[in-house]
Amino acid sequence: MARLFTIQAAWTYERMLGIGFGFAAEPMLRGLRRDGGTEAFHGAVARESRFFNAHPYFASLAVGAAVRAELDGVPPEKIERLRSALSGPLGSLGDRLIWAGWLPACAAIALILVALGAGPWAVVAFLVLYNVAHVRLRVWGLRAGFRSGMGVAGALSTPGLQRALELVSPVAAFLVGGALVSVLAWIPVHGRWETAAGAAAALLFAGAVRAIQPRATGMVVAGGVLAVVLALGVLW
């Protein structure tokens, strides 16, 4: 289980998560070392270390399923097909559920807590809240994958997961909307007109970034604007 947390440690453009996948699967494949023969074990480790790409948390589901298939003696070409078939859906699921949903929602809650004066507790709340779901997902994935083997696709249609997918984006959108206003109120500038000017500048800036998409990211434009302000402030 602990090895799943390092699944991206040796990430490459050629194999993507492949090396980490093999590394995470290897201890569970040791059951293939029977009667002094290691051929099946080494063959399975080599297969599981080939190209694989998915969301790192959901990759645990594929690791569990592939290991189960190897232990059940499923033909190698079928295992290869399973790994290949899981890549896209697990990546897309993780992107929607975690990167575009759960992470922004937790970050928004933390920012609201900062604005409410929670200080360090905002950081603690963020880490606990986010990682309860994160760790649970990895544990669930490994267990569900190992239980299901080649029938792992069924695990993706569990009601809990589908419900989470339905709820996470609206909840995140609501929290992020609230967080942006909270942060504006919290920023300790000198006067209300400065806050109002900051809000107006933010809206203008957001509009400008939207207008020039996809030629530059907001971060790059912000860096440029801040560098100009910096030069202006010093050369005034």
Binding site: L180, I187, A202
Partner: protein, 228 residues
């Protein structure tokens, strides 16, 4: 900052840098957390948290998706948090300088991550035969090598951000001549502007747009009640 604190800052920079991709992806690398930790090392966690919260607004734009090249906020925010802690409360002037350096460092973080991945690939190619033979030692060596390269990368980024940021912040503090509100407005405008744009990009489509609007409305109403 004492030498011991600086070493502690580099160690935390390595941890938050590793967290983004290598291990354990527990979001220690988010600017809010990394800024707070950097501030704590420098003696004022609250100031680090303020800087971290501002950089978190920029990080809303970042979705760390697989092969995409995305900024690495952890080491940059950790060092920026420490720089904020060394200066105390809110002051837009040095903050503009530190934020510029942090943004450049985060962008460099993405670039260095790309280089680290290329180096990982070189090592994988060298061990291709062992991997094809299913050698677990080869996997262990590659994993350890990947983590080591990532840690070195994060330490260098933290050091770069802190040393350059300190230099820039001092120069700006001494040389700022424009009205101070200009700096405050630039800091708020860019940070919130990027966050607002990112929120629109993520949730501005039909199914979630109304929820984004509802959250903003509730926030504004709460703000009105508090102000009243």
């Amino acid at each position: 900052m004492s030498a011991l604190s600086f070493v502690a800052l580099l160690a935390i920079g390595a941890v938050v840098g590793l967290d983004l991709v290598s291990v354990p992806q527990a979001m220690l690398s988010r600017p809010l957390v990394a800024g707070f930790l950097g501030g704590a090392v420098a003696g004022r966690p609250g100031a680090g948290l303020t800087m971290g919260a501002l950089l978190e607004l920029f990080a809303f734009e970042t979705l760390p998706i697989g092969a995409a090249r995305y900024p690495d906020w952890g080491p940059a925010a950790c060092a920026a948090g420490a720089l904020a802690a060394l200066r105390g409360g809110w002051d837009g002037t040095w903050m503009v300088g530190v934020m510029v350096v942090a943004l450049v460092a985060a962008w460099l973080g993405g670039l260095t991550m790309h280089l680290a991945r290329r180096l990982n690939a070189v090592q994988v190619r060298r061990r291709e035969a062992a991997l094809d033979a299913g050698d677990p030692h080869a996997l262990m060596a590659l994993q350890l090598g990947g983590v080591t390269r990532d840690a070195v990368r994060a330490v260098l980024l933290t050091a770069f951000t802190f040393l350059v940021g300190e230099h820039v912040a001092r120069a700006v503090e001494a040389g700022w001549r424009a009205p101070r509100p200009l700096a405050d407005i630039a800091v708020i405008g860019t940070a919130l502007g990027v966050a607002a744009w990112s929120a629109w990009r993520l949730y501005g489509q039909r199914p979630t747009r109304r929820w984004l609007a509802a959250g903003t409305a509730v926030g504004l109403a709460a703000l009105g009640i508090v102000a009243w």
